[in-house]
């Protein structure tokens, strides 16, 4: 049995790699947990694509302001130093490479860094993409935070994505419940394995050849 860390431990692991001064966009879903583990003493600026830098945590119940929401349309607060801007500016920040880190969820990531996270391609499903494709190509570092395997046990790190792509060659690092992997020109390189997980075990789970941690 391989070691798996919890979703919250994984969020803390991602947060520990984000330096002071970074401008960061946290995708909807599990990536939003990362905000809870950013060290309180550090100034890290959160961007929300609906038009704010300097986003703060959810307000108390009596302080919910319907004009002040995040990309998930949840109520948030504005920290000292926050700024508002319109949608075209917000996505220009992203597309223009002004964000340092973006953390996204994924259905699949390929060994070449392709990301699939917007559609399962299921017939009859109503498609919705939102900012996923902009986020995927829009930060200096694109981190994916995901389980290594689906609930059915299928690998989410794959040789080539079978789900519709969100972006091509855009992922820089994948944080999973089993370990952390960097996307390199040569393929996926093991950065860190959790617990007693071994290189051979993870390769066997994925059916992929991974570059050794120290290679």
């Amino acid at each position: 049995m391989t070691t798996r860390i919890s979703r919250t431990d994984l969020a803390a692991r991602v947060a520990s790699d984000i330096p002071e001064g970074a401008v960061v966009n946290l995708g909807i879903g599990a990536p939003t947990l990362v905000a809870d583990y950013l060290p309180a003493g550090l100034e890290i600026v959160l961007h929300t694509e609906n038009g704010m830098l300097g986003m703060g945590p959810a307000p108390e119940r009596g302080r919910v302001d319907p004009d002040l929401i995040n990309a998930g349309k949840q109520p948030v607060t504005a920290l000292a130093g926050a700024a508002y801007f319109h949608h075209a500016d917000s996505f220009a920040m992203m597309r223009g490479g002004h964000l340092d880190v973006c953390v996204l969820g994924a259905f699949q990531v390929s060994a070449g860094g392709d990301l699939a996270n917007w559609s399962t391609g299921e017939p009859g499903a109503i498609p919705a993409v939102g900012g996923a494709m902009d986020l995927a190509i829009g930060a200096k570092d694109v981190y994916v935070m995901t389980d290594l395997l689906t609930k059915a046990g299928e690998p989410k790190l794959v040789a080539a994505c079978t789900y519709p792509l969100t972006g091509v060659g855009c992922v820089s690092r994948v944080y999973t419940d089993h370990g952390v992997f960097d996307v390199t020109a040569e393929g996926l390189r093991v950065r860190e394995l959790f617990g007693d997980n071994t290189h051979a075990e993870i390769e066997a789970l994925l059916g992929l050849t991974l570059i050794e941690q120290d290679a």
């Binding site: 002040l68 075209a88 597309r95 902009d134």
Partner: protein, 248 residues
Amino acid sequence: MIDKTVPDLATAVAGISDGATVMIGGFGRAGQPVELIDALIAHGASDLTVVNNNAGNGDTGLAALLAAGQVRKMICSFPRQSDSWVFDRLYREGKVELELVPQGNLAERIRAAGAGIGGFFTPTGFGTQLAEGKETRRIGDRDYVLEHPIHADAALISARAADRWGNLVYRETARNFGPIMAAAATTTIVQVDEIVELGTLDPETVVTPGLYVDRVVSVGERRWLREGAFVGGVDIEGRALAEEGAAQ
């Protein structure tokens, strides 16, 4: 004298014709010009193409316009949400078309229309289904997709305050699509909490200059704002917490 203020909502939306392309501001409920949308429903224009980030929430605002059968086509980035049941039903019944656009491309296509740009190459969407059939170009070491501007006959947006010249200031993340839609439409119609005397708005803080705006209508302050300041005690839909408790 320049006076873009109009006395009521019906006058504000007058002249929007059947088959028009109408931009509607707002991201979810924040900044959604619900009173103008209600006026458009009463006005009755049909066969509309509507541009919005979403495709309606709950049963009010854009969802009500869809439910009234006045929309032929939605251009948006994120139609499917937990409370988008009106759009979901119409889409499954084949009663509304959908053009799905990545959110940043949607914003930039709207911006391009207002800025007189004939098209632009964007990296967003390259190599994906949403770029299929579109012209691509490699510039430097990166691949791009050609996208075209989205023009509109009318834009319905909301802002916090305006003067009679149509200068606008917004509030927090309710700004979202307002400034770019105001520039992209032939007729820009704005609902505001209050219309202030000319000269009251600080020119340094005007976000949308009045030349982009054609009609302004005041809908009165929201109960959770007093003179533009937040007073609290509501849920995310602006319902008083006591009402929310009573509804549960």
